[in-house]
């Protein structure tokens, strides 16, 4: 379904991704974990070419892009196959929740307005915002804005949804509502790749966990394997910080 092979990325002399290989199956929910600066967000952004890999091949749903030689239309094709949810929501601030979701459908997929509207309403209802259709982003809480962001991504019926730390800029109290929406769509069998710091969520929702450090994949596997019996020393060290709360004596 999605295959990344030998993805490399450098900024000037500094190499941030050292040849990443990753395969994601249809319906998989992949959680990418790792310390800050490990390149996980960069990797995610390479998948829809918001970040330009220096080398490597990206295949989504049978469509392959070779990063060494590609055209504008390759990038466009690739982006049509994915959708993204951003850490800072990145909603279009001059458009209402409904218009935010409709925008891509109308402008990119050339859907008639009425049809786009129906689909947008359906998606906003799915994320529990059926009563906020006409609200502007500035009138919504962070959690609500992020749910609009998720509805915007879902509406495009992408092959994969890329989520870049979707809860990192939310207040702790608002994290729950966003996670429960993500959990709900994961159950529907939509392929997702999530960069996250929410360990328990990753353990609970992901079907596959990838641990990255220093621009390489250190270890990957089923959540149970990674969280309960990590093989690599670096993974153990990282996960120790997120040990169950009972380990602390308060």
């Amino acid at each position: 379904m999605i295959q990344l092979s030998q993805i490399k990325k450098s900024y000037g002399r500094q190499q941030v991704l050292h040849g990443i290989d990753l395969t994601v199956g249809k319906g998989d929910v992949v959680a990418i974990l790792g310390p800050s600066g490990s390149g996980k967000t960069t990797l995610l952004r390479c998948i829809n070419y918001l970040e330009r890999p220096s080398e490597g091949d990206i295949t989504i749903d049978g469509f392959t892009v070779h990063c060494k030689r590609l055209t504008k239309s390759d990038i466009h094709q690739l982006r049509l196959k994915s959708a993204m949810v951003f850490q800072q929501y990145n909603l279009f601030r001059h458009k209402t929740a409904l218009e935010n979701v409709m925008e891509g459908l109308v402008v990119v997929h050339k859907l008639p307005k009425e049809q786009a509207r129906l689909r947008a309403v359906e998606m906003l209802e799915k994320v529990g915002l059926g009563d906020k259709l006409d609200a502007y982003p500035s009138q919504l809480s962070g959690g609500q804005q992020q749910r609009v962001g998720i509805a915007r991504a879902l509406a495009l019926s992408p092959k994969v949804i890329l989520l870049d730390e979707p809860t990192s800029s939310l207040d702790p109290e608002l994290v729950g509502e966003v996670l429960s929406v993500i959990r709900k769509i994961a159950k529907e069998g939509i392929t997702m790749i999530i960069v996250t710091h929410e360990m328990s969520f990753a353990q609970d929702v992901a079907s596959h966990v990838v641990f990255m450090d220093n621009g390489t994949i250190v270890e990957q596997g089923k959540p149970r394997e990674i969280f309960q019996s990590p093989k690599e020393e670096r993974t153990k060290q990282f996960l120790k910080r997120f040990a169950p709360e009972s380990a602390y004596s308060i």
Binding site: L50, H76, F92, R93, E103, P137, D171
Partner: protein, 261 residues
């Protein structure tokens, strides 16, 4: 000054007699802002897209028009352009002075408008452009549907300042013999020797138009920024200081409020 005593009645009379000349002033303002906006957009684009050589040229353009007095620019264009074109056998001696006035004010306000556009476009956050790309838009769609509408509403207050500044600058066009309201006031003053009354009514006329323009732009801004109630001053909160950053300020204010919840 004049040999007459001050009489308020003349202020009203001259005010009334200045009105017909208003159409010249408004013609200069209207056409130079119109042309200037197109020029400004053209000049701003190379800087926004970092086009190598054009970018330097447009910077040079902007610094020339911002760095020299408009009066000098008027003279340079009025006397200089025909001389230069004479070398190419183009005769401009019969071209009305008004043409040079509009040309100068267009290029002048174009330089300021370029700066306004540049600032406003860079004030729209980069994340929204990425989001537009991520849903599959191309560069043009992202610019015209996401960036431009927001840049326009951000730029309204500063754009309004440029228009009002331009209106007041047109008072120098009389130096080329243009009979705009200032030119008309000059000649009425010379004829009647009632300079004080004439200039009071002239000042009042400028003030009324400026004030009307200011109110107009405020309304426009409020309309265009209805999606950012805090920035548009629709709430009871004290107005954030006017700047390109006000919407940033507004959104961070919102975040702070959120954090308190």
């Amino acid at each position: 000054m004049g040999q007459h005593g001050f009489e308020i009645a003349y202020v009203f009379e001259y005010f009334y007699r200045l009105l017909p000349a208003l159409k010249v002033t408004l013609l200069i303002v209207g056409s130079s802002i119109g042309i200037g906006t197109i020029v400004g957009l053209l000049v701003a684009l190379p800087q926004l897209y970092r086009i190598p050589v054009l970018r330097r040229l447009s910077q040079l353009y902007v610094s020339f028009f911002r760095g020299t007095p408009i009066l000098i620019q008027l003279f340079l264009f009025y006397y200089g352009v025909p001389e230069v074109l004479k070398l190419f056998y183009v005769d401009l001696t019969r071209t009305p002075a008004l043409f040079f006035v509009i040309l100068t004010y267009s290029l002048h306000s174009g330089a300021y408008i370029a700066e306004v556009i540049r600032g406003a476009v860079s004030a729209v956050d980069r994340g929204q452009v990425e989001a537009a790309y991520a849903v599959g838009m191309n560069g043009f769609q992202a610019f015209s549907r996401i960036v431009l509408p927001q840049a326009l509403s951000i730029s309204i207050p500063v754009y309004g300042n440029v228009v009002i500044g331009n209106l007041k600058d047109t008072s120098l066009a009389f130096t080329l013999g243009i009979l705009d309201i200032t030119g008309k006031a000059q000649s009425m003053g010379t004829l009647s020797q009632r300079f004080i009354e004439v200039y009071i009514s002239l000042a009042a006329l400028y003030f009324i138009i400026s004030f009307a323009l200011q109110k107009l732009f405020e309304r426009l801004e409020r309309r265009l920024l209805r999606h950012e109630p805090a920035a548009a001053g629709l709430t009871k909160e004290p107005l954030v200081k006017r700047s390109f950053l006000r919407r940033e300020a507004a959104s961070s204010k919102w975040r702070r409020k959120e954090a308190q919840l």
